[in-house]
């Protein structure tokens, strides 16, 4: 017997379902109505199940799905919105909202059970919104979006009242906020967009007004801090009552920012600036006057000491009086950063700090210290305090190295251990790369002693080799030391023998190493047999070579000297000036003027004398040092940028221009602030050198060329 299956027509089925929905609404609205019994529930579910499983064209899944949504829309527009829109006060509106949401949740729970079959098969297949989402979205779109401005203002109004000291219904507030959280179903986006953003903005404005009024009323900083902390405590407390935990932090941070930022600005940034500006001005002025008044003090010494002192003072201030809040530290750091990157009296702070270290590490440096602090502590403190603020740390390193070289080579360093310990401190602070060259220099210097001993031993063992004078050689590693200008001087025969002997010795020790002689750093003790008495002259190698020419001649013209020494003109003029126009006139210049000219002649001053038996004839240093250091630094920077770019591109292979620049700055930040334009130029150069290429499609993107 074939059973004729009876299809349910849509209208017929829907009418039945509608009855169920009406009953549900009555229950939700609280009318006296018996609950659904299990049979009713089953029939409703079955009806829907059947309507969804009938063969097409009797498969009503889509229509039922649509009806499901419409049910919510209809319910919200007819029952919820009117009650919310009635012109009642804000508290009542919020209460209605909370109640509506509760009802909505009940409605949604039941309805989604009846329509559950849709959720199981039809919805996943069509990838439609799930039933629970349909209900929530309806509520969100129709209620929250529509009324969000009203609700928001009501919520903010309540919070404002509480801030002003009124009692409010915190439980209600929490429920309202929960509505926003719950609508998001685990996502906070509705809450964040519709409520939190405004709450934070409003809070910020509120406390910003507070802060200005407190400052305007000239609260003492102590009162201000008490007030501010009281506000913070209250905000914490009330936030914990009604805000989701994720908001508490944000809220408190906003309050802190608004309350402390202005105070930090007034009490730290401005004060520090007010104190630092005159210091810098003073150094600037004294540097300007130094030309006229001799010995106006050492600007580096004074400025660095003052800076460290001020920093100490304000750090204590921030820690104790401002409870170590981040905002005050930031203000302090920013103020110092501005000053530590200023150029004062033609020098950067990097340069001054290096000079400061030099002053203390030089022989006699400890006498310059006033307090009872040791040299090491003072230096460590200065470096630790100020170096982090200097953005061009490579400048500092380069200036420091120049000065270190001079201390080591001219035997001006007071204490080897101090040198080492300062470098160790810098290494801890800035990393091994920063100090590797300095360490190399100190190592060379230590080894030089051993080399010298072993050389003397060598001479003792080989009696046939005799340099004819005492010779000390310091062997330095190229690369660690600053580069020095060196001329191809024609050495006098006596010195040439020395050089050859040392070469011979050095070859017995090492192979494959090339010695380059830097005469500009050498010094000589020569005995001058003047008629009144014999005087020992301490002179540079250049000066000595020049003086030795007068062993074979009493009178020499400028051009004869020039020809025999093979020195460039400017160097020769400088040396001749030191010997014939300076304090010690070992040579008599003809004509007797203060300027060296190519037509001058020079004669050994046999009548020269001095009250001392040993004198040092200084050779004024060439005054291009600063420019040179900058040039060296620039060159090193180019290499550093190239290396950074290649490193980044090697790991990224394909990388956008902006990202590359940002990453490059980030990588180099601990050493210096690279100029964006220079980075761009380096990128172009690397393209030309085939390390990189532009992407064919996107000009903003580079590829690493393997």
């Amino acid at each position: 017997m074939a059973m004729e299956y009876k299809y349910i027509e849509f209208n017929e089925g829907w009418e039945f379902i509608q009855e169920g929905i009406k009953k549900l609404k009555r229950i939700v609205e609280g009318s006296p109505e018996p609950d659904f019994n299990s049979e009713e529930r089953m029939t409703l579910y079955n009806t829907i199940y059947n309507m969804c499983t009938q063969r097409p064209p009797f498969d009503y899944s889509q229509r039922l799905y649509d009806k499901y949504g419409e049910t919510f829309e209809e319910y919200i527009t007819s029952a919820v919105l009117p009650s919310l829109r009635e012109g009642q006060n804000e508290v009542i509106m919020l209460q209605v909202l909370v109640r509506s949401w509760e009802k909505h949740k009940v409605l949604e729970t039941w309805l989604s059970r009846f329509f559950h079959y849709l959720d199981r098969y039809f919805i996943p297949r069509k990838s439609l919104r799930r039933l629970s989402d349909v209900g929530r979205n309806c509520f969100r779109d129709l209620v929250c979006r529509d009324l969000s401005a009203n609700v928001r203002n009501a919520v903010l109004g309540l919070i404002h009242k509480e801030r002003e000291g009124e009692q409010i219904d915190r439980a209600l507030l929490k429920k309202v906020i929960d509505v926003f959280v719950e609508i998001g179903k685990g996502q906070m986006d509705v809450y964040i967009e519709d409520l939190e953003a405004c709450l934070l903005k409003d809070t910020g404005e509120y406390y910003s007004r507070k802060a200005s009024s407190w400052i305007a009323e000239e609260y003492s900083y102590a009162d201000y801090m008490v007030k501010a902390e009281e506000c913070l405590r209250k905000e914490w407390e009330s936030a914990s009552h009604y805000l989701p935990p994720s908001s508490e932090q944000k809220l408190v941070r906003t309050v802190q920012h608004e309350l402390f930022e202005p105070l930090a600005d007034v009490l730290v940034r401005q004060k520090v600036t007010d104190e630092l500006a005159p210091l810098f001005q003073h150094v600037e002025d004294s540097a300007r006057n130094q030309a006229s008044s001799i010995g106006a003090g050492m600007p580096a010494q004074v400025l660095i000491t003052d800076l460290v002192e001020l920093h100490d003072k304000y750090t204590a201030y921030v820690n104790d009086c401002f409870r170590n809040y981040y905002h005050f530290h930031k203000a302090l750091n920013e103020a110092f950063e501005v000053f530590c990157n200023k150029v004062v009296a033609g020098s950067s702070c990097a340069e001054l700090l290096a000079a400061f270290c030099d002053d203390l590490l030089k022989k006699g440096g400890c006498e310059k210290l006033s307090g009872d602090q040791g040299i090491e502590e003072t230096l460590e403190k200065a470096i630790k305090t100020l170096l982090p603020y200097i953005s061009d740390k490579d400048h500092f390193a380069e200036f420091y190295r120049k000065r270190l070289a001079r201390r080591l080579l001219f035997d001006r360093s007071a204490n080897k251990d101090h040198e080492k310990s300062v470098i160790t401190k810098m290494k801890q602070q800035c990393g091994g790369q920063f100090t590797s060259k300095m360490e190399g220099m100190v190592t060379d210097w230590t080894l030089a002693r051993d080399t010298q001993n072993s050389f003397e031993e060598y001479l003792r063992c080989n009696q046939n080799i005799n340099p004819g004078m005492d010779l000390a050689v310091t062997v330095l590693t190229t690369g660690s030391w600053p580069s020095y200008e060196s001329f191809n001087l024609n050495l006098p025969a006596e010195m040439r023998i020395c050089v050859e002997i040392f070469k011979g010795y050095y070859e017995t020790k090492t192979k494959h190493r090339k010695l380059t002689w830097v005469y500009s750093l050498g010094s000589c003790h020569i005995i001058g047999k003047f008629e009144p008495k014999t005087i020992e002259l301490v002179v540079s190698t250049y000066q000595a070579a020049l003086l030795l020419l007068f062993n074979t001649a009493d009178r020499l013209s400028y051009s004869e000297i020039s020809c025999q020494l093979n020195l460039p003109e400017n160097a020769l003029v400088r040396i001749l000036h030191s010997l014939s126009c300076g304090r010690y006139k070992v040579l008599i210049k003809e004509p007797n003027t203060k300027i060296i000219s190519p037509n001058d002649t020079f004669e050994f001053n046999s009548m020269f004398t001095d009250r001392m038996i040993r004198i040092k004839i200084p050779l004024p240093p060439v005054d291009h040092e600063r420019k040179e250091v900058m040039k060296d630094v620039d060159k090193d920077r180019r290499y550093a940028i190239d290396a950074a770019i290649v490193r980044i591109m090697k790991s990224q292979k394909v990388f956008g221009h902006q990202e590359l620049v940002i990453e490059c700055v980030e990588q180099l930040r601990h050493m210096f602030k690279p100029d964006i334009k220079t980075i761009k130029k380096r990128i172009e150069d690397l393209i030309t050198r085939d390390y990189l290429e532009r992407d064919k499609e996107n000009q903003k993107v580079y590829r690493y060329v393997v």
Partner: protein
């Protein structure tokens, strides 16, 4: 043979060997003696312009070719022709380049050659082809073994190329002035290639000049120069 050339070079061995080896190509190696009895028309053309000492067409042959074609050697059509020939160097065609080029252009007589010129010239109106010719110019015009293009050559080439471009780039003269006044250095390939993009895509008011677009520094500098001198055109 050696005897003869030695006489000509008055017994100086070095020039003599040079002379000798220079003459070699015109005297085919005995092993290659199965020479086709009749030369192909392209070969005939090639022989007409070939350098007497080198196996290629050089400056002098090129100028004869220009005369026969009735064009000025400075005419941009010669650049387009070189592009078709895939010539490696300015004012030169190797034998290979000449043969392959003419084959691709389907030219085997001077008449056909001459009549192909107008269409070559009009190829520059095609945006993509213009770009190809433009990019080709850099390697073609630069001195061998160098990575960059000499500034004066670059300026010459830009003037030549931009004169053909439609719509005209309003800043050609300013660009050249800027380079002579401020830059004074050779031009890298990236800058050369990027400039065309700049010329084509950035409008004269510079309103759509995007600094983040990674333009070469020279282009950035030029934009600054235009602004500084108040030369930016407003639309």
């Amino acid at each position: 043979m050696p005897k003869l050339s030695q006489k000509k070079c008055q017994w100086n061995v070095q020039p003599a060997t040079k002379e000798y080896s220079a003459q070699l190509p015109s005297h085919p190696n005995p092993r290659n003696l199965q020479y086709p009895p009749k030369q192909t028309p392209v070969e005939e053309l090639y022989r007409r312009y070939k350098d007497p000492h080198e196996e290629m067409i050089m400056a002098e042959g090129m100028s004869r070719l220009c005369t026969d074609l009735d064009v000025d050697p400075q005419d941009i059509v010669m650049l387009v022709m070189s592009w078709h020939m895939k010539a490696a160097t300015m004012c030169e065609f190797s034998k290979q380049e000449f043969f392959n080029g003419l084959k691709a252009l389907k030219i085997d007589s001077i008449e056909k050659f001459r009549s192909a010129l107008p269409s070559m010239r009009s190829e520059l109106k095609d945006k993509d082809k213009f770009k190809e010719v433009y990019n080709f110019t850099f390697d073609w015009a630069k001195e061998k073994g160098q990575k960059s293009l000499q500034l004066d050559t670059a300026i010459g080439m830009w003037q030549l190329l931009f004169a053909e471009m439609t719509p005209k780039w309003p800043y050609v003269d300013q660009w050249c002035e800027f380079l002579e006044e401020r830059h004074k250095l050779a031009i890298p390939k990236d800058t050369w290639n990027q400039l065309l993009d700049f010329v084509r895509n950035v409008d004269p008011s510079l309103s759509n000049f995007d600094e983040e677009r990674a333009w070469p520094c020279l282009v950035d500098d030029f934009v600054d120069y235009l602004k500084e001198k108040g030369l930016v055109q407003t639309t």
